[in-house]
Each structure stands twice: as C-alpha cells, then as structure tokens.
C-alpha cells in the first residue's frame, strides 16, 4: 500500500506521543477502537481553567494511517476550546492526510477519540 507523504511524516515522527494521569481532574481521556479490529486509539487532553485545551497526547495501536490521524489531531486540538475541538470532522483529517478510501475509518476513529476525550473531561467536571 502506498502511503501519502503526510502520513509517512506523522508516522515516522509522531507528535505528542505520551500519557497523562487520567485520574487528574483537568485531563480528559478518550479510548476508542478495539484490538479485534486492529486499532485502538487513546487520546488525552489537558484543559485549563478557561476551557481551552493546552496540551494533548496520544498513543495508538493501529496502522500507519491511524497513527498519523491521531498524531495530526493532537496538533490541531491544542489551543482550541472544547467545542472547537469537538467540531473537527474526520473528513478534514482525511483530506489533510490524503487518506485512501480503505483508510477513512482511521480518521473516523480519531474523531471518535476527541469526542470521547471531551465527554470524559466534561463528565468529570460536571
């Protein structure tokens, strides 16, 4: 399978790989996917008092496109409000990374991950 340049870049130099303590109040964690399907994505956001995402990290078990989708997403959400982050669409990720049709589900998974992380944060801070 031929990968696009941007996928390769994010795959070879993934941004913001890491882990936050998910028990902290200012952390939202979204873990989506399943080992059975060959991809699991964990996206974490650190939210400041103004409700702005000041940091984000990820770890992904999955193909290169899944890794790239989550890596790109961590870059995009930084500095965004929770609502802005939730508004990111998988199609934007897919377009930016030039994902082939068989890899579109990777970008969907990333969208699911940010939504889940925001939900998690809101639940904790409700």
């Amino acid at each position: 399978m031929a990968y696009g340049e941007k996928v390769l870049d994010h795959y070879e130099n993934p941004r913001n790989v890491g882990k936050f303590d998910q028990n902290e109040d200012n952390i939202g964690t979204g873990m989506v996917g399943a080992p059975a399907c060959g991809d699991v994505m964990r996206l974490q956001i650190k939210v400041n008092d103004e409700g702005v995402i000041e940091d984000a990290v990820f770890k992904t078990y999955g193909c290169g496109s899944a890794i790239a989708s989550s890596s790109l997403l961590t870059e995009w959400v930084k500095g965004k409000t929770l609502d802005e982050a939730k508004a990111i669409k998988n199609t934007e990720l897919a377009e930016e990374l030039a994902l082939p049709p068989v890899k579109i589900h990777c970008s969907v998974l990333a969208e699911d991950a940010i939504n889940a992380a925001v939900e998690d944060y809101r639940k904790k801070n409700a």
Binding site: A36, G38, K59, T60
Partner: protein, 408 residues
C-alpha cells in the same frame, strides 16, 4: 541478490521466489526467434516434436522429485488451478456417490474457496479446526468422515505458518474409508521429501514459482494405480489426457522441470542452511518480551518463521519494516484489513493475530540479511510499542480481556 542497498531484503519466499538463473537459462532455450519453438501439440513437424520432447523431459524431472510416474503429472497454469481441478474435479465426478468433503480451516484460499463453490452447488463441507500448533488431529479427522465423504483435502505445508501435516497418517485413514485424498503441496515440494510411490496420496498440487521456477505454471499429480477419476475443468483440444486442455507453455514447463530437478539435487543441503538461518533469526528475537511463534516449531518447513509481536499492529509493523520485503500473512489476502484467518483458526487472540509477521527465507537469503533483519525488527517493535496504548496497559498489569471494547 540482496547486495544492492536500495533494495529491501527479500524475506517473502513463501509468496513467490525469484527464478533460479539456471532455470532461466533452460527457459531461454525455448524462447525467441532463434530458440527452439513450436506448439507441443503439432504432430506434423520437428518444431512440435522438439517442444513435446522438452515437455516430456520436464515431466520426468517433476515426477522424479516426488516419486511419481511421469504419466501421473498433469500440467496446469498454477497451484490454484490444480487445487480447483482436484477438488471440483473429484467432487463432480463422484457426485452420485456422495457430496461430502472434508478440509481444514487453515488451507490456502484456492482450496477453501473451491469448497465454498461446491457448497453453493449443494455439497456439504466440513472445515476442521486445527490444533493450536496448526496440525490436524487425526482422530477428529476420522470422526468427521462419513459414508458419503468423497474427498479429503489437507495441505502438506501451510503457507503462513509453515507447519508440516502428517499426510501419510491422514492418507492411510482416507484409504481405510476409500476416500480420495488431495494434498496441496505448493509450499512443500522441493522443501520436504515426498515419495508418492509409497505415500497414500491420490492427488497432489504443485506450483513452480514457489520453488525458483516460473509463474503461471503448476501441476497436478493424479495417481494411476488405482486410477483416480476426475472431471476436467478446462475443455478444449483434449491436452494432458483430456484432464486439462490448452496449449502447453513449453518454456514454462521446461522451467518448472529444471526447478524441480535442482530442488531434487539440493534440497538436503539447502534445508540445513535454511534451518541455520531460521535459528539465527529466532535466537535474535526470542529474548524480546511478548513474542510468540505461530505454529509448531518442530513440525515446520525449514525456511519459515511466523512470529506475533504482541501489542504491535501488523500493518504498522510492515510499514516500519519497509527495508524488509515480508508479509503479514499470505500474499493472496494481504490487501485486506482482516487478521490472518490461519492464526484465528489456531485460536490466537485478536491482538496476536493482528501482530503477526511471516518471515520466509530461501535460496538467496544470507546470514547478513538475517542480522540486518533482527536489528530492524527490534527497533521497529520497540518504537511501535512506545506508541501502543495496549503495551502501556500490559505494562501496567491491566488484563486487556477485562476491558469492554467498543467494536466498530
């Protein structure tokens, strides 16, 4: 062959092999305007006779490697066609006697899909589960046999995990019940000794391009005494004793013959060398955490090692190992996102099935290739585990099975 640094190291010999240069040299004698050319079916001139003689010589070489009579070798366009011919040919011929077939879940797609086709036609097929080591349990096979079973098809060496089935024992069980026994030997011919003169096997499929011969060429062994009857699948001029019509591709047949002749001469020394390489590879990887060999280690063809690197996803691993030409399973299914059905049939869990790599070594693999491979694999697995949330969880002592995953 791997001396050029810009070319990945080829460790995909189970998908296809390069053609041996000695084979190419023989083939070229039958290719081109200045070569010996002719339609082997032409009976009225020397062009045809010479082509026919070359075909018969090749048939002899093939028969010699597997202990068969040349008259028992039917040429086809490849192992897929051989499997189709054997399975559908026998099933159709014996339709009135019975419509039940037994095979195993880890067979090549050519066998499984032929069986599925027969199911569509109204036949019944039992797909045996292999044991965890990939081998068929003889008692379970016997238990599956019925009075209306007409065919058992079990492969000799598995293309993904390299395990060698005990075809002698299976064949004997089939003989007791007068059931025709077909063996897909695409991955074993030239790698495992085969003596059809003594083996209780009725039909056996061969491929040329898996043993340094050309693509587009295969054969089916059809036992003569007692004669195995099957219905032709390709109709036309009645070539190959009416079992397979179509102009014989002389140069390809010559290539297959030469490949089988060389294999006959060199199999023993080559296997020794390959086992050394395989041990070198495993020794270089086995101290890593959470690394598993798929399939029985002892009952295994020399050039194959199939390993699961737990918590690392196979496709990303292949991507990280772009300097190695390897596969995450069989080439025929490698474009799909599904985990290997062979590993699933062994009872491997999803993570392990998704994280497998097949290393298949061959005639041109060197010790240095393996050294480089070990280095690349270790680096890549380490990097991807750093990225893997599953690895994190494993390190934190979390049981992955305890988590409710949202399958998508």
């Amino acid at each position: 062959m791997n001396d050029k640094t810009d070319k990945p190291i080829y460790l995909d010999y189970s998908a296809t092999t390069p053609i041996d240069e000695r084979v190419v040299a023989e083939m070229l004698k039958y290719m081109g305007p200045d070569a010996t050319f002719g339609n082997p079916a032409s009976r009225s001139h020397a062009y045809g006779w010479q082509a026919e003689a070359a075909v018969e010589q090749a048939r002899q070489h093939i028969a010699d490697l597997v202990g068969a009579d040349p008259r028992e070798i039917i040429f086809t366009s490849g192992a897929t066609e051989s499997d189709n011919l054997a399975i559908k040919g026998v099933a159709h011929f014996n339709k009135k006697r019975g419509q039940h077939i037994i095979t195993c879940k880890t067979e090549h797609k050519a066998v499984l899909d032929s069986c599925r086709q027969l199911e569509r036609e109204g036949y019944e097929v039992t797909y045996l589960d292999p044991e965890q080591n990939g081998l068929v349990d003889l008692e379970k096979l016997k238990a599956a046999m019925r009075d209306d079973t007409t065919l058992v098809s079990i492969m000799h060496v598995n293309n993904e995990i390299g395990v060698i089935q005990d075809i002698e024992a299976i064949g004997n069980a089939c003989r007791e019940r007068k059931i025709v026994f077909h063996v897909d030997a695409a991955q074993s011919a030239g790698k495992v000794p085969i003596d059809l003169a003594s083996l209780p096997v009725d039909l056996m499929s061969f491929s040329a391009h898996k043993i340094y011969g050309p693509k587009g060429m295969g054969a089916l062994y059809v036992q003569r005494k007692p004669r195995v009857r099957l219905e032709a699948q390709m109709h036309g001029g009645g070539h190959e004793r009416g079992m397979r019509s179509g102009t014989l591709a002389t140069h390809q047949i010559v290539g297959m013959g030469e490949a089988f002749r060389i294999a006959n001469e060199e199999m023993a020394t080559e296997n020794e060398r390959l086992i050394t390489l395989r041990n070198q590879l495993w020794d270089g990887l086995k101290d890593m955490e959470e690394v598993y060999i798929n399939g029985d280690f002892e009952q295994r063809v020399a050039g194959n090692l199939n390993i699961s690197f737990n918590y690392v996803e196979g496709e990303s691993l292949l991507m990280a190992l772009k300097d190695l030409a390897i596969s995450s399973g069989s080439a025929c299914t490698s474009a799909s996102l599904e985990p290997s059905y062979v590993l699933r049939a062994l009872g491997r869990n999803d993570e392990l099935a998704h994280s497998s790599i097949r290393f298949s070594m061959g005639r041109y693999t060197t010790s240095k290739d393996i050294e480089t491979t070990i280095k690349h694999v270790r680096t890549a697995v380490e990097k991807l585990r750093e990225l893997s949330p599953l690895w994190d969880m494993y390190k934190d002592g979390i049981d992955l099975d305890s988590i409710e995953w949202a399958a998508h």
